[in-house]
């Protein structure tokens, strides 16, 4: 009976990816927020290239993190409201597998586009040339943790009225290690110091998030089903 499990996982994955980019999906919303918010920093800080270059990696990482947080708010709430969460709970995959599929779908559909567009925003922020490669790499290694940990916050607040603000309060402190090691990797690379230590730590944080994320999300979703 193992084939249906992977088929079920794929089905949930494809469904969520399509929904993320369908009308009213979070894909476009996160992307546009990412671009607008980064340009806001330029307006706030001023166009002076040296200053922008100095804060480029930090700003891009923080705004990518916030864009990820924003798009996670509806990760389970949409299914909770229209009742499909009940069907998902009855799928052969079980809630932990469902959570894993939805987290992967969120990362692929919403976060990867942010990573792909990050170099463009690096240009806006006058990021140093040697920073682009490491920026992409650090985002690639670090952002899965944002989806995994954010999923727990989304699952915990799925049945909470106006749960978005509460979710941000729960999740943002847990994003700090990913942010520190992510930006640290870029700064290290640009400072001509090896960034492998930061990347390794970033990967470690993501692995821990991988271990906790689906499991804790499923436990929280079981609460919402009651």
């Amino acid at each position: 009976m193992s084939t249906p499990l992977s088929a079920t996982f794929r089905a949930i994955l494809m469904r969520d990816i399509r929904l993320a980019w369908s009308q009213g999906g979070t894909g476009t919303m996160a992307l546009s927020f990412f671009m607008i918010a980064v340009t806001l920093f330029a307006f706030g800080v001023g166009p002076e290239p040296q200053v922008l270059a100095r804060i480029a990696a930090g700003v891009i990482w923080v705004v990518a993190l916030l864009a990820c947080l924003l798009s996670l708010d509806r990760l389970y709430q949409a299914d909770y409201e229209d009742g499909s969460l009940d069907d998902l709970a009855l799928s052969p995959l079980g809630l932990t597998g469902v959570a894993a599929a939805k987290i992967l779908a969120h990362w692929l559909a919403t976060v990867v586009p942010l990573i792909l567009i990050a170099p463009l925003l690096g240009m806006f922020m006058n990021l140093a040339p040697e920073g682009y490669g490491i920026l992409l790499l650090s985002l690639l290694v670090g952002t899965p943790a944002l989806s995994l940990i954010g999923s727990i916050g989304a699952a915990l607040t799925v049945s909470v009225r106006r749960g978005g603000v509460l979710m941000a309060l729960l999740v943002l402190p847990l994003y700090i290690p990913t942010l520190i090691f992510g930006v640290g990797a870029v700064d290290a690379a640009m400072g001509m110091v090896g960034s492998s230590a930061n990347l390794a730590l970033l990967g470690a944080v993501t692995l821990v998030a991988l271990a906790i994320g689906p499991f804790a999300s499923a436990a929280a979703l079981r609460l919402a089903l009651e």
Binding site: L156, L172, P173, I176, I180, V205, A219
Partner: protein, 239 residues
């Protein structure tokens, strides 16, 4: 473990412990304050301002200790579905948050004469700040649900996720701190703490610990009574 499942049983136990805890708190507080303010010598480098350490350090210890108590209670609440364990988390959180806030305030008051600024992104202080946010998140989730039992289990999950992340956050903040912060010559509490300073620190820590037990038990009674009230009201509604 289920012996305490019954609130009346818990109240009896609490009433037996409270007088002792209050006594220990009073004695150690008086002794601690005397030693902290009068009995111990000023620091050769910081002068009298070192006396703030006798509040700052115990408060920081209690901030971390209380979160561990909450995490322990949350574990019991989830594994054994123990209603009192859930309430223990809710009762402890405000105390922990207060200790964390005091650690931050006294830390910045202590830092000002030494570093010239009220806030220095020092590794330890930054970790305490993040711990404060974790407390805010924990206390906030309790008010997110209409059904207290759901709120209790959600808060328990959050506390466990939080405690799993604390060492990672602590490590990343220290790592971040060493990158951006030249090793500050002045370390919180000086390179080595003289014996004469250890005693007030230890006694004040005992006083804070006793204080925690006393206020925790009071808050547990409060939370149990509140749960009883909402249960009775609901019984009225559903008959």
């Amino acid at each position: 473990m289920h012996r305490f499942a019954n609130p009346a049983e818990f109240n009896r136990l609490a009433d037996r412990i409270l007088p002792w805890a209050i006594a220990v708190m009073a004695i150690s507080l008086v002794a601690g304050l005397y030693l902290a303010l009068i009995g111990s010598p000023p620091d050769y480098q910081q002068g009298e301002s070192v006396r703030i350490m006798y509040i700052h350090v115990p408060a920081a210890w209690m901030a971390m200790f209380t979160y561990m108590v909450m995490a322990g209670a949350s574990f019991v609440a989830i594994v054994w579905r123990h209603p009192l364990a859930e309430l223990a988390g809710k009762a402890a959180a405000p105390i922990g948050a207060t200790f964390t806030a005091l650690a931050l305030i006294t830390g910045s008051l202590w830092g000002k004469p030494m570093w010239g600024t009220y806030w220095q992104w020092d590794g330890r202080m930054t970790s305490v700040l993040v711990l404060f946010f974790l407390y805010l998140g924990y206390m906030a989730i309790w008010h997110g649900f209409d059904d207290e039992e759901k709120a209790g289990r959600a808060a328990a999950i959050l506390a466990l996720v939080g405690v799993a992340n604390i060492p990672i956050i602590k490590f990343s903040v220290d790592w971040w701190n060493t990158l951006h912060q030249p090793a500050s010559v002045f370390r919180m509490g000086g390179p080595t703490i003289a014996d004469s300073m250890l005693w007030p620190l230890f006694i004040m820590a005992t006083a804070f610990q006793a204080y925690f037990v006393v206020v925790f038990l009071w808050r547990m009674k409060l939370e149990i009574n509140q749960r009883k009230l909402s249960v009775m009201n609901r019984a009225e509604v559903y008959g």
